[in-house]
């Protein structure tokens, strides 16, 4: 039958019993095999002329066996990756309220700037006279970071937040060594609410972690810190605002107490998005803090990186900063690439995440001092708006009081329902949302940590709140059965993670011999 030119009438179509399709696709939800299942070894999407005959000079080390790599023509490659991309949620598609992850809008001017050939197509080891603009950019970004944080120096090499923590603790370790206290100061204090990277980093640098308790109000009291301090303490690692979304009220006294006891104050800067233009970590007594450019300064997360984690340093840690760093002499810039004096040395090849530096500076220039402050205010306002919209129906572990840029709930409201926070997260997926962070921080049972960021409009926040409320009402009405099966509308239903861990299949292997 020819239906061309006529509106499609849904009511005339016979109801279908079977929901299955021949292809297993469902309209725009397209299944996609692995490249190894449809690529062919003799296909290539890159045209290149075979070199003229020449005598190879590989020293007899030629690779003779087949590598096994499949090839795709350009149209096949486009289709493969576009189809895969359609199975991902993204901040461009909707609110991504992962607490402590700061999924904010990624401005596209940043992408355009990072791709300017003058930044993207320059080599880290070409003569410094040919990269003066790149060094100027690094110097400018460093200036913004120091001004925003009230600090004296910044180490640019760290590649991500955890690498920044490593940098900060290495500087602290070097400073302690310089004082001749390497064998006595072996302890790092950290609260149980800390990111897992904090204790993991401390252990890498040879420190042991001593846990400090948070109070019933969710913050660390200076008395708890004093009780844990001693001549064996090298440093404290504290996140501020902390992972419960609360500003550490005693932070100044804590910093003083740690300093008096001969230790250093490392601040995990993952949550700096709450403080731009509002308070400066240097003024609070922080000695070292990494800044996740991929959180606060909007460089895209890319499904798991790359990030960048420059570390700002106090005056007393500045001499121990790693190489390389940029120095300015009048109008010329130079790189110091060899460790000298008290520098702890080199922690990675080359000069840091230049691509991320360009994007972050683009974000800063766009906002300016006024816009950065407004962004932090909006981030905090949005988190509190969600708190106000949900506090009466969920449960708050530390009482319902103002939060900073993220709001924390626990799972007490689920008591007796037979449901877990995981079920709530999966139900939100069916409603078209990326869920919040769940089960972190560890100090709160069934934690639900929501960080909307400044990027969300009022309408977006209202829809999110209304949806969570609807979920909660359904549970109150006892309609819990469907939750166990959620999500049912996503490209996949719940995935068996136990099976994946018990019998790890970490790569594709040919199930039958490849022909040829």
């Amino acid at each position: 039958m020819n239906n061309q030119g006529r509106p499609t009438a849904t009511d005339t179509a016979p109801p279908r019993a079977a929901k299955k399709t021949f292809t297993t696709n469902r309209a725009l939800q397209l299944e996609e095999p692995l490249i190894f299942e449809h690529g062919r070894p003799d296909v290539t999407g890159v045209d290149l002329d075979e070199p003229e005959t020449f005598a190879s000079r590989l020293g007899g080390l030629e690779r003779e066996e087949t590598i096994g790599l499949p090839g795709l023509s350009e149209p096949e490659a486009l289709r493969h990756y576009v189809r895969l991309s359609q199975k991902n949620y993204s901040i461009d598609a909707g609110i991504y309220p992962l607490g402590s992850c700061t999924m904010k809008h990624n401005p596209r001017i940043n992408e355009a700037m990072a791709r300017l050939p003058g930044f993207a197509d320059i080599h880290p080891l070409q003569p410094q006279s040919t990269v003066q603009g790149a060094l100027e950019l690094i110097d400018t970004l460093a200036h913004w970071l120091m001004e925003m944080t009230g600090t004296h120096a910044v180490a640019m090499p760290p590649k991500a937040g955890a690498h920044g923590e490593l940098c900060g603790l290495m500087a602290i370790r070097a400073a302690i060594d310089a004082r001749g206290e390497a064998s006595t100061r072996k302890i790092v204090l950290a609260p149980d609410s800390a990111h897992g990277t904090n204790p993991a980093t401390a252990a890498m640098v040879g420190f042991s972690v001593r846990s400090i308790p948070a109070g019933a109000d969710g913050v660390v009291a200076v008395e708890s810190v004093r009780a844990a301090l001693g001549p064996d303490v090298a440093a404290i690692m504290l996140t501020n605002p902390n992972t419960c979304g609360l500003f550490e009220r005693d932070i100044v006294q804590i910093a003083e107490a740690v300093r008096e006891a001969g230790g250093y104050f490392y601040c995990d800067g993952a949550n700096f998005n709450a403080l731009m233009g509002k308070a400066r970590p240097g003024d609070l007594g922080v000695d070292a803090m990494h800044i996740n450019l991929h959180k606060t300064f909007s460089t895209p997360h890319g499904g798991g990186g790359p990030g960048a984690g420059p570390v700002v340093l106090s005056e007393r840690l500045a001499p121990f900063a790693p190489v390389p760093f940029v120095v300015r002499n009048n109008d010329a810039y130079a790189l110091r690439e060899q460790a000298s004096g008290q520098s702890f040395g080199r922690m990675t090849a080359f000069h840091g995440q230049m691509g991320m530096f360009v994007r972050a500076l683009s974000f800063m220039l766009s906002h300016g001092s006024d816009g950065l402050r407004q962004a932090s205010e909006d981030a905090v306002l949005n988190a509190n708006y969600i708190r106000a919209g949900l506090a009466d129906i969920l449960s708050s572990p530390f009482g319902d009081r103002p939060c900073m840029h993220e709001v924390l709930f626990d799972d007490k409201w689920l008591d007796g329902t037979g449901l877990t926070m995981l079920d709530i997260a999966k139900a939100l997926i069916d409603e078209g949302f990326h869920p919040m962070t769940m089960y972190f921080p560890l100090v709160v049972h069934g934690a639900m940590l929501i960080e909307p960021t400044e990027s969300e409009s009022l309408a977006s926040l209202n829809l999110f709140i209304a949806t969570v409320r609807d979920v909660a009402f359904r549970i109150q009405r006892g309609e819990t059965e469907a939750f166990h099966a959620a999500p049912i509308f996503a490209p996949r239903q719940r995935l068996d993670e136990t099976r994946a861990a018990r019998n790890p299949v970490l790569r594709w292997t040919a199930r039958k011999p490849i022909r040829g």
Binding site: G71, N88, M103, L125, E377
Partner: protein, 447 residues
């Protein structure tokens, strides 16, 4: 401010809903004397056009590789990246998604990582690979830490062919962790005997091929020596394209492979972001650092992918984790995987042959330049030149003539007796005209 959706009225309404009299009342937990009352001493916000102008001015001061005859390598290489790679990695769903914590709505990223792991394992000839590290140098650091966990020893031996930045990064980490490092003398001619250093106290040997001087190395005997003493061989590479032509690390007995993947899919970016490739033998998988994607099934029995073996990782194991790594190089791994899918087996092998053929051609041309010697008997796409006089000054003079002719070794190893050496890389992007320009510039600058 164009990135902030709220109007003034909306902000006031929201404050009302929150029950906060002013925005500052939400910041009341900050000690009064520490609150900023004045704007930061930084410029006010700029329009998009103003931002583009400000950053464009800085970019214009730099000499981009594409605009000159360009022979700089030494750990980062200029290759052509197909336009479709950069287009695809800018898809919103790849670019603006997080680490795939909710696998039902992250199957795109997870399948890419599974494919990436497989490609990396194939390329390196190893059994398993992870979902990427920050870069080659930090991958090498993690490889040493992993070897220490496996061997329960704490001494690493570094080859004199290892990239100096990699060696320094390993030394820094080892010094901090209280582990021992033995560094072989810098070994321009690939003539060192590392085997003599290996005994029952050695955890691992770290060797690079092609080494930083450009020599492909036969590490088979070294692998045997390591294994005789219960030590691990860590094979490093900085030029991934070489694996299209050179014997795979897995085939010469590597236990762990740590490499730089920038060459395939990622631009030079002045040194970062890059892509750490990390592969190992299956038996050691639970000691690996970093994320791993694995295959499983969903509730309806369909194939799907998840992050797995996370009990190794910091968010579960905290101070007992195999590494502190969290964010890695996901988007660069995607670019690598796309570029390698486009190349395929035939494309990669041909690309490697073109690189090698061009380098052979250039080596022969340079060998005829007076006062210049090519020190390598064998190489892939990079080799060491000995010049008469100060190499750094010669490279500067060539740059003044519009040719970026290589890396003076003194840039990496000052005062080490290598002031007359230049590392020269030649890839598929270099033309006969480029090579002629290099020869002319070198003749002019070295005389």
């Amino acid at each position: 401010m164009r990135f902030l959706p709220h109007t003034h009225e909306e902000r006031l309404d929201m404050l009302g809903a929150v029950g906060a009299p002013t925005i500052d009342s939400l910041f009341a937990a900050i000690p009064v004397d520490k609150r900023l009352t004045q704007p930061l001493n930084l410029p006010r916000g700029k329009s998009e056009a103003e931002v583009a102008r400000a950053l464009g001015r800085m970019a214009a001061k730099n000499t981009a590789a594409d605009t000159v005859p360009f022979f700089v390598g030494c750990g980062a290489y200029k290759h052509h990246i197909p336009a479709s790679v950069d287009h695809l990695i800018q898809r919103s769903e790849f670019l603006t998604s997080y680490t795939p914590y909710q696998p039902e709505i992250a199957q795109g990223t997870l399948q890419v990582l599974f494919e990436f792991q497989t490609q990396t394992a194939m390329l390196t000839g190893m059994e398993v690979a992870n979902a990427s590290m920050y870069d080659g140098s930090t991958a090498a650091v993690e490889a040493v830490l992993m070897a220490h966990r496996i061997s329960r020893r704490r001494k690493a031996v570094l080859s004199g062919g290892l990239h100096p930045h990699y060696a320094q990064a390993i030394q820094t980490m080892s010094q901090m962790a209280g582990d021992e490092v033995v560094s072989m003398p810098w070994d321009v001619h690939a003539s060192e005997d590392i085997s003599a250093q290996i005994d029952a106290s050695v955890s691992c040997v770290v060797a690079q091929t092609p080494d930083v001087w450009g020599n492909p190395r036969d590490l088979t005997e070294l692998a045997n020596a390591c294994h005789r003493h219960g030590a691990l061989l860590i094979v490093v590479f900085t030029e991934a394209v070489s694996l299209g032509l050179l014997r795979a690390p897995g085939a010469i007995g590597a236990d762990i492979v740590a490499g730089e993947g920038q060459s395939i899919g990622t631009a030079l970016n002045f040194g970062g972001p890059y892509l750490g490739l990390f592969a190992a033998r299956q038996t050691h998988v639970r000691q690996m650092p970093g994320r791993l994607a694995g295959e499983t099934k969903d509730a309806a029995g369909r194939r799907g992918f998840v992050l797995t073996l996370s009990t190794r990782e910091q968010h579960i194991r905290r101070e007992k984790a195999t590494s502190n790594i969290c964010t890695n190089s996901g988007l660069c791994a995607l670019a690598f995987s796309i570029h390698l899918s486009l190349l395929g087996e035939v494309g990669l092998r041909r690309l490697a042959r073109v690189n090698h053929a061009n380098a052979v051609k250039l080596a022969d041309m340079l060998a005829r330049v007076p006062n210049v010697d090519v020190l390598n008997r064998s190489f892939f796409n990079e080799f060491t030149l000995r010049v008469k006089g100060d190499a750094a000054a010669i490279v500067e003079r060539m740059a003044a003539r519009g040719v970026l002719g290589g890396v003076p070794v003194s840039r990496l190893l000052p005062n080490a007796g290598f002031d007359n050496l230049i590392l020269v890389a030649n890839t598929e992007v270099n033309t006969d005209d480029d090579r002629a320009a290099l020869v002319a510039a070198l003749e002019g600058a070295a005389s």
